[in-house]
Symmetry: D2
Subunit: 316 residues, 4 copies
């Protein structure tokens, strides 16, 4: 029964699975690993699954382009939740392997820059070869193809390996953001600390278009949280922008900015409004974007609309 099935970027033992398991409802869902981000999302599109959890951004590696591009194109999907997971790697080896025995290592290409410095310091002669996922790397270690795999410590049990070294990461606070995507429906309820995601195509790439895009947000006091250019596939120099802003589509300032973008640019895809991960934990995660611009609360919008009505009625 699909409503109870969630797909995720597999295989088992990846950070994505770990992220998915932080969601309370995961306990009552059938969690199905998929071979790729497109596969995980397509299962939702076809109705085989209710939702899919996929990585979208890494604080070291940047945007996960497969996810960005899949959400931007094809049958529309919407984001309902986000999960942010701190990322630290363990070097998983077959039981008994010592550090000096490790001549070949593997892991997902995204893991490589995060373990590069550790490798240079501890295994300078080890040869790196990429695998399709961290968990796949673990499997290949199990099969004897490599001596060590960088993966989440939680993957050791799944693959009968042991973590020789743990907590390996290059950047302080490395973390990955995952999103739970489903078919379009009403957005998640407004919490007051929300994130809204969208994709904007600039159309004819006239020089000032990106400036205009930013001004639609700025003039309404809406702070950007993330902006990434993605090629449209129509040739070098043609971009669309994947954008996250603070706030919820039902916040008046966000709604007006979205309408401004919709009017101004040839194509806008709304990808959802959803609670910011860590919103319940104000101290640990400072409010991004700083203090808001005055005059941008829903109350300010309502007052201004009343004033306009009074002007139109000759009562101002």
């Amino acid at each position: 029964m699909p409503a109870s099935r969630y797909t995720y970027l597999g295989p088992e033992g990846t950070f994505t699975e770990a992220a998915l398991r932080t969601l309370p409802e995961a306990a009552t869902r059938e969690l199905v690993p998929m071979v790729s981000v497109p596969a995980a999302l397509d299962a939702v599109r076809t109705g085989e699954a209710a939702a899919a959890l996929v990585p979208i951004e890494n604080s070291v590696e940047g945007g996960v382009t497969a996810t960005l591009d899949e959400l931007a194109t094809g049958e529309p999907l919407m984001i309902y939740r986000e999960v942010i997971l701190p990322i630290a790697f363990a070097l998983l080896v077959r039981p008994g392997t010592r550090l000096e025995d490790v001549k070949t290592v593997t892991g997902h290409p995204v893991a490589q820059p995060q373990v590069r410095k550790w490798l240079a310091g501890h295994l300078p002669d080890a040869v790196w070869e990429s695998s399709a996922s961290n968990a796949d790397g673990a499997r290949l270690v199990r099969e004897g193809r490599y001596d060590g795999a960088f993966a989440g410590e939680f993957a050791a049990a799944t693959y009968d390996l042991e973590p020789l070294v743990t907590d390996i990461h290059d950047a302080r606070n490395a973390e990955t953001r995952f999103v739970l995507a489903g078919r379009p429906a009403r957005p998640a309820a407004r919490t007051g600390r929300d994130r809204t995601s969208l994709v904007v195509w600039l159309g004819d790439d006239h020089p000032g278009a990106l400036l205009e895009l930013l001004q639609e947000f700025a003039v309404r006091g809406v702070n950007l949280m993330r902006i990434e250019s993605r090629p449209t596939g129509e040739g070098m120099g043609r971009y669309c922008f994947s954008v996250d802003c603070e706030g919820h589509i039902s916040d008046r300032r966000v709604g007006e900015a979205l309408m401004g973008l919709k009017r101004t640019f040839p194509r806008v895809r709304f990808l959802g409004s959803y609670p910011q991960a860590g919103a319940e934990d104000e101290v640990a995660r400072p409010r991004p974007g700083g203090a808001g611009r005055p005059g941008t609360t829903d109350g300010d919008f309502a007052s201004a609309a009343e004033w306009l009505a009074r002007c139109q009625d000759g009562r101002a």
Copy 2:
């Protein structure tokens, strides 16, 4: 009966009276000259008159500050009509006076720069002394205090003078814009070629405030037609801005810009939306501001609002 009374900046025989007489309804109104712009407008505020016609802008002299300041402060008034009148002066003299007899001339201070070059060329030795109005100057010529007065040719009859020279002006296309102000009521109906007037107080004069003001218009594709800074009287460096923009308050782009200003700045006074003078005469008066920005028609706003509603309902 006040509803049938219009005041204007007098005395009789001024350009303001001539402008007022271009309004069709003037034929059925009691037209009362007043001694000053404040007096003309105060008669409307107190209910003694239904409306007042006063000059607001001259293409050579700039804004008529008495009018700008009177409309910005005190009991609110609203503009319902504008009249633009080409300005050319006649040199009015007592019958029989020859050009070489003219030793002293007078006129309103605003007239002086417009006749200066003519004076330098034709009456280089004539002494100029300002009078309270052009018509008042004509009266003083009649009384013998000056030899000639610069005024509208139409004033000659009123004061038993004759126009010795006509069509005197320094700048090509010199013209004055007049506005008909009444007590607040519903704005004039939208015509599709309208002007909206307002006053915006920037509050704490932080450096970027004027830029923000302009961006509220620019981001909605609303063109400015006129902007003038006026001191607020709270000390050097404190300004408010008297602004005219293209469009009508009932145009969605204008309404949204007005609400944006209202939210952003501490004080905004709406002074009316009214047909642009000469709107019926497209050829003679090219559309100011050039082609509009795409995505700013009422239809574009309606489409964007529908799209937003679909997004909020999960139907986008």
Copy 3:
């Protein structure tokens, strides 16, 4: 000998003369009152005078348009000093006149709004008639044409009148700014608290031109102190802008902004860089415009230029 002669907007006894006398060098100059701002400035243009002091801005009335327009056009002049004078009026009468005897009053049109409230409260029935200057009004009272004149208290002695009431003003801190203009030469030395004046013609009045003008300043962190639109005389809707900004032409950020304007707009007239009045008196006059934008000191410009040179040499 012209070098020792300063003209000013006369007649004797005006605020302009009072402002001129605050300049130390005034004590050793021949001070010549002129009938108008153009006359005072033309005397400098022809070489009959070394400099002219004229009012340019009033905190209640706004820009003095005759001065703004005279400096914007004709043979170029430059501003070397500014003087700010608090404005308060005295009601000057012939000795023996009592307040209840005052039926007619006069004064310069600029004085009228500043004494209007006082008149309404103390002489509600007095008839106002404008005179060419406050001092001229005093003369006309001396000659018996009016009962009272609003002028500076210092004018009483000149015209054998006595101040019946003093310290009349409508707005707190009413003050007038005067500028000392001479023929073009090297600007006044930089003091660190300077003002730079210029006039910018926008050319084809495309909607965004004023925004572009402001951005040339904003992007270099140069704060505007004053901006006034003035008609160019080429028809309604055609403006140039008279602008004052903080800083000196020799400040790198100001120089770059000026060059940006010069490149972008069809015509720019530099009117001088000169010490801000009251710059020596930091407590009384807070720094306008607030804290500057980072990266805009001369040192920052020099560092950036060195960095650019290193980049061009391959040494960055």
Copy 4:
């Protein structure tokens, strides 16, 4: 002898090698394939090679993050040339393999989205597994691990394979841009159709920082060609921007924009000015960014600088 050695992202038979061979000097250089972008670039940093050719951007996949991040950090390098290569894949198989025999395919992860549609249409059941490079995939086909590899047709000979299908690509005009990086030295000579690359760190991520970055370019009329956000590794929401603009560092408008960025932002890295690929072929590649803003030629800058000097000397 290093001066004659160029590294590139290997192994042999990749598009990078094909791109490198389009450079005339490649004929006289020792061309050394390296295992990764970092390895190729580090060989230049250590002096083992004179330059390295690496992919930087793909019109379908977007920025090559390994290259962007390697150029942004570590010992500085500079870009001296770019090569743009149309991308089309061949399905390489061992001689004798028929299409229906192909059950497993491989290729670089970047190739996957470009062949996805072709796969869905022609080999819907084939299993994709990523390899470290397209050429590596070819090698693995040679070794029998996979049945087919997507790679450039030119790789067939190197690996004793044959192209079963050619000209496979998903997007029209798919192409990859490569850059030739060397140690810092004088930039390539200005050609009049140049590209300048840099990285800008926004520092404290205040909401308007990206707007300010864009305005530094816009106000000088410099068009952006590419902008990509990259995480700084200091936590989610912290970005730097990798930017390409039109023009050469020795163009005055570009130099001034670079200095503005250097003054405004905490860190800017200049990555070189170099001829735009295809600049010699105006018809095939239309000028990006459209017509320039007026007043931004070197002549305009020189005139403005002369004007400023005249103002400072009192000769304006």
